[in-house]
């Protein structure tokens, strides 16, 4: 029996009928209900330098964001039962290193990444390590469940930013930026400003909550952030654009915090004395989600209806229409684009 899957074309992608995989020890087979396109998938679709250099095997199945149902248990799996509705935590920890043993499984030294080092979930079925299958509470509908993985990054960034009561500026209104902004509001930020050079993305952001929107092509950083009452206490950087951080960092307040989420293609030049040392500011990297603190916090915020992220889901397609889905996701025309296998 075969299954529909979307495999890498290096570049591009193509539909392929693959054999339904068998879960091995410690793994489960899931039937995929809804998937979502992530920035990582777009990099692999475009087969940029990064994607070409990380050892993705030819014909690898794309995709890591989804909601799915457990249909078969591998040997020794006791944490899950048939019929469980799950999301996938993308970081596969070794469970053995000192980071794993000290609450830092998400940045495990030996971690593998689901869909880069394994087949992904843009398919009718996928095999998932049981340790990475996160059960989804019943109150979360399928479409929202399919975007919990990237939403978790935003929640984690807002947690690192320690945003409660603070003026927060989020750079970038792509999915991660938008989710960081939503999470900042949910975690009690005093105010949230979100920036993007694409007004379509800012429109989606304004539907997600009471945040100030800022297009730096239309309003300068000094006009937006230059006064004492507008200068940010927290910056969450999700663009990976040198210009975005270089223009904004000078306005960070004393003892401010920068949560760095975006990845830059080269070095970024920062004036550390003026902007970090003299201000006693802190710059901290944020990668993935804590396992499982971030997921717990996120589910609680959803339960309390504090995280209004549904407007982020702008498009839905059948898996077969992946070309259009990728086009919309990568152009910035849409925010979260779902694919249904």
């Amino acid at each position: 029996m075969g299954m529909k899957s979307l495999i890498t074309g290096a570049p591009g992608a193509r539909l392929h009928t693959a054999a339904i995989p068998e879960p091995r020890q410690g793994e489960v087979l899931v039937r995929v209900k809804i998937t979502a396109i992530c920035g990582t998938d777009i990099h692999i679709f475009n087969w940029n330098k990064w994607a070409a250099g990380i050892g993705i095997k030819p014909g690898n199945i794309l995709g890591h964001e989804c909601v799915a149902e457990v249909v078969k248990l591998g040997e020794g799996v006791e944490s899950l039962a048939l019929g469980d509705r799950v999301c996938i935590e993308t970081h596969i920890p070794c469970e053995d290193c000192s980071l794993c043993k000290n609450g830092n499984m998400h940045i495990c030294e030996n971690k593998r990444i689901f869909s880069l080092h394994t087949d992904g979930c843009f398919a009718e079925y996928a095999v998932v390590p049981a340790v990475c299958a996160r059960k989804v509470p019943d109150f979360i509908p399928d479409d929202l469940a399919s975007i919990l993985e990237p939403l978790g990054v935003g929640v984690h960034a807002a947690q690192v930013g320690n945003v409660q009561g603070k003026r927060v500026v989020v750079l970038g209104a792509g999915p991660i930026g938008l989710f960081s902004a939503c999470a900042s509001l949910a975690l009690g930020a005093h105010s949230v400003t979100i920036s993007d050079v694409k007004n379509t993305r800012l429109e989606v952001a304004s539907m997600c909550g009471d945040m100030h929107i800022w297009n730096p092509l239309e309003i300068s950083a000094s006009a937006m952030l230059g006064s004492r009452s507008s200068a940010p206490e927290v910056i969450i950087e999700t663009t990976g654009s040198n210009q975005a951080i270089a223009e904004t960092l000078p306005y960070l307040r004393e003892k401010g915090k920068v949560a760095m989420v975006g990845l830059y293609s080269g070095d970024v030049s920062l004036n550390l004395s003026r902007d970090v040392i003299y201000k006693e500011a802190t710059v901290e990297g944020v990668h993935g989600r804590l396992m499982w603190d971030t997921w717990d916090v996120m589910e609680n915020l959803l339960l309390e209806k504090k995280l209004n992220v549904r407007p982020a889901i702008t498009h839905e397609f059948a898996l077969e229409d992946y070309e259009e889905g990728f086009r919309i996701a990568s152009s910035g025309e849409g925010t979260k684009v779902l694919l249904k296998p």
């Binding site: 940045i107 550390l272 990668h287």
Partner: protein, 361 residues
Amino acid sequence: MDNVMKAVAKVRSEYGSFEVIEVPMAKSPGDHEVKIRVETVGICGTDLSIYKWTETVAREYHPVFPLIPGHEFAGIVEEVGAGVSHLKVGDKVAINPHISCGICPYCIQNRESICENRPILGCHADGGLTQYLTVRAKNVFVLPANVPIYLGSLAEPLSVTVHALERVQQKSDKAAAIVGVGTVGLLQYIACKAAGYEDIVLFGLDSDQERMELAKRMGAKTVNIEKEDPYIAFERLTGQPKADVVFEVAGTNDSITFAIDLVKTAGKVAMVGIAASYTPIDTTKVVFAEKELIGVRAYNLSTWPKTMEIIGKIVPQLELLVTHRLSLAETNKAVELLLKRQCLKVVIEPNAESLAGREGR
């Protein structure tokens, strides 16, 4: 001549221009003030910048000339104003030269290190290179009895390193690295040791050879990164591949890049060294390994009592740090020594000439 005293001052806004001048005697202390007889003044890179009158100094400090430099100083309480309860005449004291405002949002949170309005004695206002000085009592801290007064001026740079430890706050850490082996690097070593780090490794360059020898005499492990692979060396010396925490005190682009590489996943880099303008950062390393870069500036008021506790326990190490003790009239010689890097810590003793038995040091 009780109404005048000697001081060294920057007399105009040109390179050099440090001159011994006579100035009116420091005033009697008002309420909540004390008058100090200055016994020791440390000369550091900031003083060199004032000497050279760099662009930054010209922009940041708006002094009225003559300006008396000296922000690292200690002395003896000469006279006590009304309302001062924690000091008495004859006390041996060190002075926090940051006159924090006490009312800005940061002072209110006891974060005087980032006070919005804090003249620094010796930078924005007259400092310690003088015989007497009257200062706010709140900035004056009693040194432990066993600390020779000439070492008291080290309390200021030591406070910077104690504050760096406050900023990183990682009690369970075992292995620390210090990048840079100047006075601050060596003081950071002493402070880290006092804070209980098991393994502390200092990283320096060929040009730091003498200072690294000194560090070894203090018991430190040192690595010359121009002579051996620093990562292999760190693992050999500590048994772990990366540092739990790194204190970056050198402030160069190379040293900052190295510090970020050297710290472990989820580790912290205390940024103590003042980086020159722009530093290229490979943020991928910071993001993927969730590293934290922590800005460290000066100290809080609450740092100083901790410094006073530590300084009594590290007298032998501090004695090794001070290579020259000079008089006020020899201040230009002290500057020369620093410019030529022929010394480690030089202290000026402004009242030395008037004291008997100061020969033969």
